[in-house]
Symmetry: C2
Subunit: 86 residues, 2 copies
């Protein structure tokens, strides 16, 4: 499964495009973010993806969970968002 990694410098609209493409392909999209700035961009991306998918009649929801992710060789706690059809 492809994982969409988001940083505080990610552009929400671009990430939203990636999320939407995965969901249109029939799979849930998995987004990882470590740190408040990255989590904020991930949430914005999920909100934008909802509007993109709504245009295709798809209602998308988001499932936030804690996760452990490797960033630059170190394991950090962050948030995993699964974006899926409702």
């Amino acid at each position: 499964m492809d994982i969409i990694k988001v940083s505080s410098r990610s552009v929400p609209k671009s990430v939203a495009g990636a999320i939407s493409a995965v969901i249109r392909g029939g799979s849930p999209a998995v987004v990882e973010a470590v740190g408040a700035g990255a989590v904020n961009q991930a949430v914005k991306a999920a909100a934008v993806a909802r509007t993109f998918l709504a245009e295709d009649g798809i209602e998308a929801i988001c499932i936030p969970e804690f996760g452990e992710f490797e960033v630059a060789g170190e394991v950090k706690t962050g948030m995993k968002f699964t974006v899926d059809k409702r």
Copy 2:
């Protein structure tokens, strides 16, 4: 409808308790957050609420949207999270 306002200083577990109580009462919970720090706490709270509700056999999902909120007399753009049963 009661709105749960979250700041960067909010304690995720306490907010999760408030979210869970609303959902157990049969309504969706609405959470507002302005700023990356507040959004991060809101997402953590939603993740904790999911674990609280899972203990009651309830699967909760989160719907992130942009919103305009009044903070100290000023209108600011932030995120609104509707936490609801799937």
